[in-house]
């Protein structure tokens, strides 16, 4: 199973169209391997993006340097996946 230790999901709040476009620029940087759970659409609609551990620092620096607000929606994906697996195994065991 693919490992998502350290992957975070950021919820980005783009305040205006320019910031939406800035986030879209991130989308095109394939080396960051970003996984947009909710795409950049328009100001006011949350943008959710899964960021691999190796890209987190650069993504956060990018957002902060452009004054784009974000919060950490999921601290560590793997923790939730482990929880999900545990719940399923508990049921199957029962």
């Amino acid at each position: 199973n693919e490992n998502f230790v350290g992957h975070q999901v950021l919820r980005i709040s783009a305040a205006n169209e320019a910031q939406v476009q800035k986030v879209k620029e991130l989308e095109d940087l394939e080396h960051l391997q970003l996984d947009f759970w909710r795409d950049p659409v328009r100001p006011g609609i949350p943008i959710d993006v899964r960021v691999p551990f190796t890209s987190i620092q650069s993504v956060k620096v990018f957002l902060e340097s452009h004054g784009i607000n974000y919060e950490i929606m999921i601290e560590d994906i793997q923790t939730l996946l482990d929880e999900e697996q545990k719940q399923m195994s508990a049921f199957q065991a029962r």
């Binding site: 199973n1 999901v9 996984d35 759970w37 899964r50 999921i74 999900e84 719940q87 399923m88």
Partner: protein, 309 residues
């Protein structure tokens, strides 16, 4: 599970467990439920649709599918719950019984079996099919960009490594082509509802163009009624509107194609995540999600039944 009564609807299940559930449901309700295989996936897995029918031949029908994007686990889990709900409510709930006495329901619970198996086995975040693209190391096509409606226009990617890769040509994905052939051969489907997650939206055509759909007024009114019914249960807030107005331009999408085939009541749901879990919605929210969504589905099915066309 020994029966659909002891089946646990409040946990996520593997592909095999869902396929076993389908067989149990058919065995327990032979007069009402049958299982149709509409094709095989790229990796050779059977693609099953449950048919709920009380008789007649080629009756007007309602199509519901879940799980076209494999990581959206709450949708397949809701599809399992819908299947059981249909067998429980027929003969009990007057409004629903009237619908099923006159229309058939087709329910495809796992619309992307290869992708779903892959989320259990290898990558829980997988969204696309598992087909191979010649000349690329990347795998899979977004099955919700592969339909022959605005195919390849803006709102999908031509990059095989993208999560919204539209594929080499429309219906290139056998998981899509199987539905296209089924719907075309059936010829009497009156409502088509494709269920995704997340972000609480009820969407209708178009996604590939900002042109309003000819039936926009009626679709908007019906979406409003359906969302009102959904929200009445647990207060889950939904937005509704056309795909392009409500979220973004998306070309080659399922409901744009079904609408272009004359299926007026074509809708896409984006089910809850009311919290901050995204695709990793806790299993404890499966049943509440299914229950509230069912109220919206009933609204759409009832309207379809009462407004034959």
């Amino acid at each position: 599970a020994l029966s659909t009564k002891t089946f646990n609807y409040a946990t996520y299940h593997t592909l095999d467990e869902i396929y076993e559930f389908m067989d149990l449901l058919v065995t327990e309700n032979p007069q009402l439920v049958s299982k149709i295989q509409i094709g095989n996936t790229f990796e050779g897995r059977p693609i099953y649709v449950l048919k709920f029918s009380t008789g007649g031949t080629n009756r007007p029908a309602i199509w519901i599918d879940t799980g076209i994007h494999s990581r959206e686990w709450v949708t397949q889990a809701s599809g399992v719950w819908f299947a059981k709900k249909i067998t429980e409510d027929y003969g009990q709930d007057a409004a629903f019984t009237a619908i099923l006495d006159n229309m058939d329901i087709f329910l495809e619970i796992v619309t992307n079996p290869d992708g779903f198996a892959y989320t259990h086995k290898t990558n829980r975040m997988w969204r696309k099919t598992r087909s191979r693209t010649q000349g690329s190391l990347c795998v899979g096509v977004d099955p919700n960009r592969n339909w022959d409606a605005g195919f390849g226009l803006a709102g999908a990617s031509s990059n095989p490594c993208s999560d919204t890769y539209h594929g080499k040509f429309a219906n290139s994905e056998v998981e899509v082509k199987s539905i296209v052939d089924f719907v075309t051969n059936h010829g009497n489907i009156k409502a088509f509802i494709s269920i995704h997650s997340y972000s609480q939206l009820l969407l209708y055509p178009y996604g590939y163009t900002s042109e309003p759909a000819p039936d926009k007024e009626e679709l908007d009114q019906l979406a409003k009624s359906a969302v009102t019914a959904l929200t009445s249960l647990y207060g889950t807030k939904y937005k509704y509107g056309s795909i392009i107005d409500t979220i973004y331009q998306a070309s080659g999408s399922t409901v744009d194609w079904t609408y272009s085939q004359g299926i007026k009541y074509s809708f896409t749901f984006e089910l809850r995540d009311t919290g901050l879990r995204g695709f990793l919605l806790p299993a404890s929210q499966i049943i509440p999600t299914a229950e509230e969504t069912w109220l919206a589905l009933l609204t759409i099915m009832d309207h379809t039944f009462k407004h034959p066309y």
